[in-house]
Amino acid sequence: MAKYIVKRIVQAFFVVILIACITFFLMNMVPGGPFLSEKALSPEVLAAKEAKYGLDKPLLVQLKNYLLDLLKLDLGVSFKMQINRPVLTIIMEMFPVSCKLGAISLVWAILCGIPIGCLAAYYRGTWVDNVLRVFTTIGVSIPGFVVATVLLVIFGVKLSILPTMGLNSFGSYIMPVMALSLSPMCYVGRLTRSSMLDVINQEYIRTAKAKGLSTKVVIFKHALRNSLIPVLTYLGPLTANILTGGFVVETVFSIPGLGRYFVQSISNRDYPIIMGTTIFLASFVVFMTLIVDILYKVVDPRMDLSKEAN
């Protein structure tokens, strides 16, 4: 167990380093460097600026410096959008908004998704199951921005009962959370249904039925617990899903979070912010996956994750 945890932590560390290297080299492929699109600078000023940000050194030295800075949690300063403000400060300012929205959506997706799956499994083969299956299939197929904009048009513009921008009141949370959680919710529902049906056919469920327990107790007490294990493993990808979905939803609803800021920094080509945010969000996702994997091992010790599952 301890060996497994250490192994996973080392692996997560390597993933973060790998992402940092990819980010670094990609950003260096951009011709002309970050100052080119500004007003034409005289060669001296350009050289001075490059020296200031350490861009005149060889690439590998730059990479080494960058990684060392990264260990000190120094992500550099913004070039354009908020000139000379440290990227980490900006991220820390913006992230709580996104994080709150994401956490609410995540909890909502799970709280709705699991009952949907249970209902579908409980009433399998009936019209309830069919309706839920159609709903979840459509839900996972519609891109997030379609959901967000359709909600915006219907409830924000045509009916104008919900605020269309910002995150100031309770009402303004409804649409972003709905848009962000629809596809994860449907996915969790499908996952719960199929794993529930797997579990129902197992022996201990037959034993529980044979003891004379009611179907409800069997389903919700005995079957539900074990059928939640696949849902638990989905939590890692779910976090990534909600974070990246946040880019779109925050842009559509003009929410001042990290996602919208990231999108803006891409169109403004503010490279330190793009790099910093990518590494930050990627590390966050890797960290969440790490925790979920360890939890998974605790919940279900039968799983031997160190061996590759086929």
Binding site: V15, I138, S141, F145, V146, V157, T244, T278, N310
Partner: protein, 344 residues
């Protein structure tokens, strides 16, 4: 003769020899009897069987028909339209839907019906090409890893694990951002007609393909590896080895053809996810370059006029969702048809 205990309980188990064999039993079979032994049913191949199962699946069949209609709309539709996706018609900007322009025109006076057709075409091409890239890289990598086993497998799977844990969408977004300018300058400086032709699609498309080639093949590789590990213990592989076949030959001729069901299903399910990803990137402004368009960038363009021209958003969104939904359903149907063991 003393009757056994069991024949008392099950009297029918006691064979009645007099009844079983009469004198006729030892005569040669008549022509009529011989004919009865010949199978009247034609033998059914794997593909016929799979197609029969697929046809029985109504949802998948309807989805397949819808996809066919969308493909015709995207590839043949523009031939019947007098307009072009990039021609800007002066004086007919922002027209509402009418007989002349069934989907109206956009802010630059371009016919939206033709643009939707081209957008659908681009989305479909991206989906298919990206899945083919994933198919090729994933199946080669996975089969080598599974066939070699041991240390090679171990190292190769560590690499897969590493790539698997990278949050893909973030890196794709980064790739499309960073590769835009280098690719653009490559297109501009090149004189070859082929690259010029590619350039109309724009650099972002290539970044998407590069991203798929770098990141998305891993799940496919895992599936193929599992399949190959299972298959390589079969006798025909041992026989091929005993006859002196090389590893590459065994993989090409024996292992991959036997994974073909799996390969088709995973490739089919990859198409909608590629279309999904492209629409996401286009929506964030990192998609195909203007004047070329895709369903995602059409929706993104419509966002500016969402209050007065809602239909411009609705049309590409509905088409996109329909496309992804039907492709997913066909993929599911194919999985049930080609691999009945997996069906739940």
């Amino acid at each position: 003769m003393k009757k056994s205990k069991w024949s008392v309980i099950f009297p029918s188990l006691q064979p009645n020899i007099e009844k079983l064999f009469t004198d006729d039993s030892f005569n040669p079979a008549t022509e009529n009897e011989k004919e009865n032994f010949i199978e009247t049913k034609e033998s059914v191949t794997y593909w016929q069987e799979a197609w029969r199962r697929f046809k029985a699946n109504k949802v998948a069949m309807i989805s397949l028909i819808i996809i066919a209609i969308i493909v015709i709309f995207a590839f043949i539709g523009p031939l019947f339209s007098p307009y072009d996706y990039s021609t800007q018609i002066r004086g007919s900007e922002n027209l509402p839907p009418s007989w002349e322009h069934p989907f109206g025109t956009d802010g630059l006076g371009r016919d939206l019906l033709v643009r939707t057709m081209y957008g659908t075409r681009v989305s479909l091409i991206i989906g298919v090409v990206a899945s083919l890239i994933v198919l090729v890289i994933g199946s080669i990598y996975g089969s080598i890893s599974g066939y070699c086993g041991g240390k090679v497998d171990n190292v190769m799977m560590r690499i897969v694990e590493l790539i698997y844990s990278i949050p893909d969408v973030l890196v794709v977004l980064l790739l499309t951002t960073a590769l835009k300018e280098p690719l653009q300058s490559m297109f501009n400086s090149s004189s070859s007609d082929f690259i010029k032709g590619l350039a109309t699609l724009g650099p972002s498309l290539f970044s998407i393909f590069i991203a798929f080639g770098l990141l998305y093949w891993v799940s496919n590789a895992r599936i193929i590896r599992g399949q190959v590990i299972m298959l390589k213990q079969q006798e025909y592989v041992t026989a091929a080895k005993a006859l002196g076949a090389k590893g590459s030959h065994i993989i090409k001729k024996h292992l991959l053809p036997n994974c073909v069901g799996q390969l088709i299903v995973t490739t089919c399910l990859q198409i909608p996810s590629a279309i999904f990803l492209e629409s996401f990137l286009s929506f964030l402004g990192n998609g195909v370059s203007a004047p070329m368009t895709s369903l995602g960038s059409l929706a993104s363009d419509a966002l500016g006029g969402i209050y007065s021209y809602t239909y411009r958003l609705v049309i590409p969104s509905v088409l996109l969702s329909l496309l992804i939904l039907t492709l997913n359903l066909v993929g599911d149907g194919l999985r049930d048809a080609l691999d009945p063991k997996l069906k739940k």
